[in-house]
């Protein structure tokens, strides 16, 4: 099997699974229970929280565990707009965002909020002048992804945060789901930051929202104090512990891992560029882990299934938005409807080997030929 869909989800690291098993079996109490068994679980949860906080360079009190990045994104947006609703109703974002951002904003638009999409340059970076000109007295939130999930475009969140410091009423949320574990993350200028466990070789079902101290949120899941007052529900202490472990492991030698992925990415780019009808949508300075391409005239699903026949797995758009509509993100960057409708995402990992890439390229080439031939018929 050649798995090239790491941005959809990653295989669970065995060590992480061991942590989970151990935590589940040895810490059976509910961390909210007042008895000693509960307290034991609570202490494990606290230690996991501390570890996540230390690794992310924030305070322990700033870590809110959620069920995943989608919930973290929802909590960030809904939490802010409900808490600060008297401040304004204007939100800024980009067309590159994950559906858990865009759909939430669509919902808010129907509720009367004004959603503005920031201009991007040809490499997909946010146009600073446009950002400054769009912020007004009514703006309460800027929400963007550090690394876009479809194209791998990296935004300079440190710089953007620096600019937003001049607008103290505007809260800055960053979706870091595709960034954590891949690039060096700096949360100094960010108010809220989401990420998830299953993108960093951890288990599915747990994520995190970092909420800086000076920000308040209205919970979206009510039910009283749990791990934090911002998110109710029985704390999933074993999942949180496994998440903390996954984060620690993924950050080990991340520079080496990055270099490895970069080499693989360059190899694929070099080969694909020579193939007819294949265009690369990811700008050159995108993260090497994500390579978005389009094949003219061939439905992306067709290629996806053809590759799957040979045990190679990639994705169309993002796994979370698998309907037939075109990719907003690809269209935003390429301004080309055909490309936006036929985009495929190849996503790599430090686990990906050279041999896998060779096999992929070889298979891709032959499938392309096959499908183009059929197209000709």
């Amino acid at each position: 099997m050649v798995y090239l869909d790491y941005s959809a989800t990653t295989p669970v690291n065995k060590e992480v699974l061991n942590s989970f098993n151990k935590a589940v079996l040895e810490y059976p109490g509910n961390a909210n229970s007042l008895h000693s068994l509960g307290t034991k679980s609570l202490h494990l949860l606290e230690a996991a929280t501390r570890q996540v906080a230390d690794l992310m360079g924030v305070n322990k009190e700033e870590v809110i565990f959620t069920s995943g990045a989608s919930e973290a994104n929802n909590l960030a947006i809904m939490g802010v707009i409900n808490k600060y609703k008297n401040r304004g109703r204007h939100i800024l974002t980009t067309k590159l965002e994950h559906s858990s951002i865009l759909e939430t904003l669509n919902y808010l638009e129907k509720e009367g909020y004004i959603i503005d999409y920031l201009k991007l340059d040809d490499k997909g970076h946010i146009d600073i002048t446009d950002l400054k000109s769009k912020i007004n007295d009514d703006t309460i939130l800027v929400t963007i992804s550090e690394v876009s999930s479809e194209l791998g475009i990296v935004q300079d969140i440190k710089k953007l945060g620096e600019i937003l410091k001049d607008y103290p009423r505007v809260i800055f949320h960053v979706d870091g789901t595709q960034a954590v574990g891949k690039i060096k993350v700096n949360l100094d200028n960010v108010d809220l930051y989401s990420f998830s466990s299953h993108k960093i070789y951890g288990l599915n079902g747990v994520g995190c929202l970092i909420k800086k101290r000076h920000i308040e949120l209205e919970p979206i899941i009510h039910g009283g104090k749990s791990q934090t007052i911002y998110r109710s529900g029985t704390p999933t202490h074993a999942l949180c512990a496994s998440f903390a472990k996954a984060l620690k492991l993924v950050l080990e030698n991340y520079e080496e891992k990055f270099e490895h992925v970069l080499k693989l990415n360059q190899k694929i780019r070099k080969n694909l560029e020579t193939m007819n009808d294949v265009v690369i949508n990811s700008p050159i300075d995108s993260i090497p882990h994500i390579l978005n391409i389009s094949i003219k005239g061939i439905k992306p699903e067709t290629m996806l299934h053809a590759l799957a026949e040979s045990d190679i797995y990639i994705s169309t758009k993002t796994a979370c938005a698998n309907d037939a509509s075109m990719s907003l993100g690809v269209f935003e960057v390429t301004k080309d409807k055909e490309r936006a409708k036929s985009s495929l995402r190849i996503s790599l990992s430090y686990l990906t080997t050279n041999e896998e890439i060779d096999y992929f390229l070889e298979t891709f080439k032959s499938k392309l030929k096959e499908l183009s031939f059929r197209k000709g018929e």
Binding site: A23, L34, A47, A48, E61, K245, K248
Partner: protein
Amino acid sequence: MNRVILIKYGELTTKKGNRKLFINTLYSNILKKLKGLNVNIYRDMSRMYIEYLDKDQDLILKNIGEIFGIHAYSIAYKCDSNLDSIKETISMVIKDNLDNKNYTFKVETKRSDKRFEPNSIECNSIFGGHILKNFKNLKVNVHDYDILVHVEIRNDSSYVYLNEYKGLGGYPVGTLGKCLAMLSGGIDSPVASYLALKRGIKLDLVYFEAIPHTSLEARRKVINLARKLYPYAGDMKLIIVPFTKLQEAIYKNCLENYSITIMRRMMFRIMEKLTRKYKALGIVNGESVGQVASQTLTSMNVINSVTNLPILRPVACFDKLEIIEIAKKIDTYDISILPYEDCCTIFVPKHPIINPRLDTCLEMEKKFDYEEMIDEILNNLQVINIDNSKDEDYQDIL
């Protein structure tokens, strides 16, 4: 070179009769604090010296910086008490600690051994001359100097050092007996406890808990605050007082605006019994005059009348900002501001009385048998030891 950490005693040098007790207490506090490290500590009536392994230096300096009863401390080079040996050591100290930039300096010699010849003033010029001759970048300026070269000539050895770290001052914890400190979880009480420790008072801590009105998180917050005090305090007990029933009885039986006043009176009644039980000599709390309704002088009078024990209120006359400054210094502030309710914040009346009357209190207190409740409370105390046991590290999981 034989390096030692040289410790100058704090205010205790003025306490002639009790000096020995103070020094011994400081000695045992330092021993406890450096437990597990390979050190040798020796002392005389004005200095203490710690011999240590180089690798432990930073750790020891950090620990010494958390001990009350120390005026100042420094890394001193030890040598024999003769001029040549001292000169050689001075050269070494300068080489080890200064770069080649231009500095002005002054030599300050102290002889505890007055038989040593030449005398201190002559020594200053001899050592100054030695430095001038050997270090072209150093110039004398006895009024406005960058570097102060300390030379201490004592009976069997001499010590040379440049930099001095400021100690915390105060008295060694334990020299003045024990008090019970009321720790609520707020900003003021940890600071009050810290200041009491500074005056040499050993502490056990008391936390009034009203589960389910207060949460277990509130208790953990208090435990974490106690842990922050631990580096200064050493081992303490945290006594947890189950206050729920009594507190509920107060709200059932008393006028709403008197509830806080009566609650505080009950707390002090319990504190008095606890001081007896835990052999303490007084109570420490974080009251600050005028901060809340129960902290007006009228309130304090009515509340205080239930006990004859000394109640120390170290922050009584501090502004809130001054208290916060200390809370930040001792790293309790961030814990204190966590939003968990404690006994004093639940059931807060809309308009607590600012000038309560004693007779009204007494009348209301007749309505229920608080003595029995207090007895029950005393039978159900929980005690948590605050010591250096660390949290589990969960290495196998995390």
